[in-house]
């Protein structure tokens, strides 16, 4: 730990978080709005009603503004893997690079080719060809998200690879294991559907403003109906995939799962905290110890956490303390090593690699073969090398192996509570839409408008949980964030951090201004 420049690490993390969070402001709207537009255009092509063409073009304009800035922030994010995280890129570039490259192909070839037809092809190509292009933009945007999410899921649950001690790199041995990792599929489905929910709320919010202003009233009502129905189905899918994601986290990232629920002591029949507030933390008793935080207030659902994690209300859920101190599952009898044991195993793996490299360098083939044999032994890989990343920590610094419990807890609960609000909003909007009473429900229209910032908060909270909840790991158990960073001057990262912060904020303000101008113009100029 003493060899690491923590200022550099903190600024590098800050810069990546800044870029990723700005990127995620723009991307979810792209993912969902494109399908809403494709559905609207399909209605236009099937009915021949020109009004649906106008509706489609209006929403497509807002989509286009958002898409351009989303691409700009995404490109910077990909460059940062090389500039700020070169050790990470070296360690796993062989695996991480493949889905990232496919993502690039999807984004730049499929999406960008057909987006040109979508925007500039009206009246130049046939209706059906244009519709096909719109659907391909929607599918392409979502498939490009698939590949980046496959890469992200691999970091959270590294599978389908083997470590090569000669190059000190992890190499892919099964592309299909990486692609069809349950973590990857869950992450993809949950993430894109969250984008659909965000887009549905966005459409409802903008259309609610039209109704309040009594502008393009029929267009607004029809847009709200499309978004409500799409939103209800997306929300149900979001709950289903969220359930699958939580189960995956419980299995492969138990510390993140415990942090999500601020569960300090493991238990069978674990309840789910529906709503809760954490007390101020007590100061740690000794240096390096974690700060335990109890609940000041909580409402629990009995047995639900055990059921959520393992589909068994009696299942044992390890708490933070169990994971740190080691535990034996009372039902299965399986023993999980303590962090101290994992640190020792990690150090053994690092030392073995060092000794192997020294033996190779000095031409001692016999000793090199002894160390190499360990890397070829599946038992050693599964019981020792598996904890490679823990070797960067010591007894004094092991508190750094815990994520932030309050951030994980609050981001998870905020995301879930707001998701419930959006589902309720979609249902109420649909009911009053079908009764044609939306104009009279002014309070509901205001709720629709104010749900736009709320849906962005929920969307960001989801990623905060995913990324901060897995800390300190950049690759689960194998590589801590502090060892992934490029050895560059911290001041360089500070300068680019502020440059990016100013640029992204300017872009965001520009996007909001352009969008508001476009929205104020309306679909028919207010008639």
């Amino acid at each position: 730990m003493e060899n690491f420049d923590m200022t550099l690490i903190d600024w590098s993390r800050g810069q990546f978080a800044l870029t990723a969070m700005y990127h995620w402001i723009f991307v979810p709207l792209t993912l969902g709005l494109t399908f809403i537009i494709a559905i609207m255009e399909t209605i236009y092509v099937k009915t021949g009603d020109e009004k649906w063409k106008k509706i489609t073009k209006f929403w497509a304009t807002l989509f286009g503004i958002n898409f351009a800035i989303g691409v700009a922030t995404g490109i910077i994010l990909e460059f940062e893997f090389g500039t700020n995280w070169s050790n990470y890129s070296w360690f796993v570039g062989d695996i991480f690079g493949a889905p990232l490259a496919i993502e690039g192909i999807m984004a730049f070839f499929m999406e960008s080719t057909f987006i040109a037809i979508m925007f500039f092809g009206w009246n130049k190509v046939s209706k059906k060809f244009h519709l096909t292009a719109t659907w391909l933009v929607a599918i392409g945007a979502n498939l490009s998200a698939l590949w980046i999410l496959v890469a992200n899921a691999w970091m959270q649950n590294p599978v389908g690879m083997v470590f090569n001690p000669d190059t000190a790199r992890n190499e892919m041995v099964s592309f299909w294991s990486v692609l069809f990792s349950p973590t990857a599929i869950n992450k993809f489905l949950h993430t894109v559907t969250s984008g659909y929910v965000l887009s549905a709320v966005f459409v409802i919010g903008v259309a609610s403003w039209f109704l309040l202003k009594k502008k393009d009233v029929v267009f607004a009502k029809q847009s709200i109906l499309v978004a409500s129905v799409f939103g209800i189905i997306s929300s149900l899918f979001l709950v289903w995939t969220g359930d699958g994601s939580a189960r995956q986290v419980a299995q492969v990232q138990p510390m993140k799962f415990a942090a999500m629920e601020a569960l300090w002591d493991g238990q069978t029949n674990a309840p789910l905290v529906a709503i809760g507030f954490l007390e101020k933390p007590a100061p740690p008793k000794t240096e390096g110890q974690y700060q335990e935080k109890e609940f000041a207030f909580k409402i629990e659902i009995p047995n639900m956490l055990s059921f959520l994690a393992f589909l068994d209300p009696n299942a044992y859920i390890p708490g933070v303390k169990d994971l740190v101190n080691g535990y034996t599952d009372p039902r299965t009898g399986k023993r999980e090593p303590s962090y101290s044991e994992k640190i020792a195993l990690g150090k053994e793996a690092i030392t073995t690699l060092k000794l192997y490299k020294e033996a190779v360098a000095s031409g001692n083939a016999e000793e090199a073969a002894i160390h190499k044999a360990k890397f070829d032994d599946p038992d050693w890989r599964n019981n020792t090398f598996k904890y490679f990343g823990y070797g960067y920590y010591t007894e004094e610094t092991k508190a750094g192996l815990l994520p932030s419990i309050p951030i994980s807890f609050y981001s998870f609960h905020l995301m879930v509570i707001l998701a419930g609000h959006f589902l309720a909003l979609f249902i109420v909007m649909l009911i009053f839409s079908l009764k044609n009473r939306l104009e009279k429900m002014k309070w509901l229209l205001y709720v629709g408008i104010w749900s736009i910032p709320l849906v962005y908060i929920a969307s960001q909270a989801g990623w905060v949980l995913a990324e901060l909840g897995r800390q300190p790991w950049v690759i689960q158990d194998l590589m801590p964030t502090l060892s992934a960073v490029s050895k560059i001057d911290a001041s360089s990262v500070q300068i680019t951090f502020w440059l990016f912060a100013i640029t992204f904020t300017t872009l965001l303000i520009a996007e909001i201004k352009i969008m508001l101008t476009q929205i104020k113009k309306g679909i028919t100029g207010g008639h």
Binding site: W176, L189, V192
Partner: protein, 41 residues
């Protein structure tokens, strides 16, 4: 080998398909109501 994940993945296009048909179904109801109320020309 990966059948459960493949089937799970295919739920995505199914969801989009269902969404489209559900939108069309409810849109007909809305258009009927708007026509009854004299808002749809």
């Amino acid at each position: 080998m990966y059948w459960s994940e493949i089937i799970y993945f295919l739920a995505w296009p199914v969801m989009i398909f269902i969404s489209y048909h559900a939108v069309v179904f409810y849109l007909k109801k809305l258009d009927k109501k708007l026509a009854e109320d004299g808002e749809l020309s």
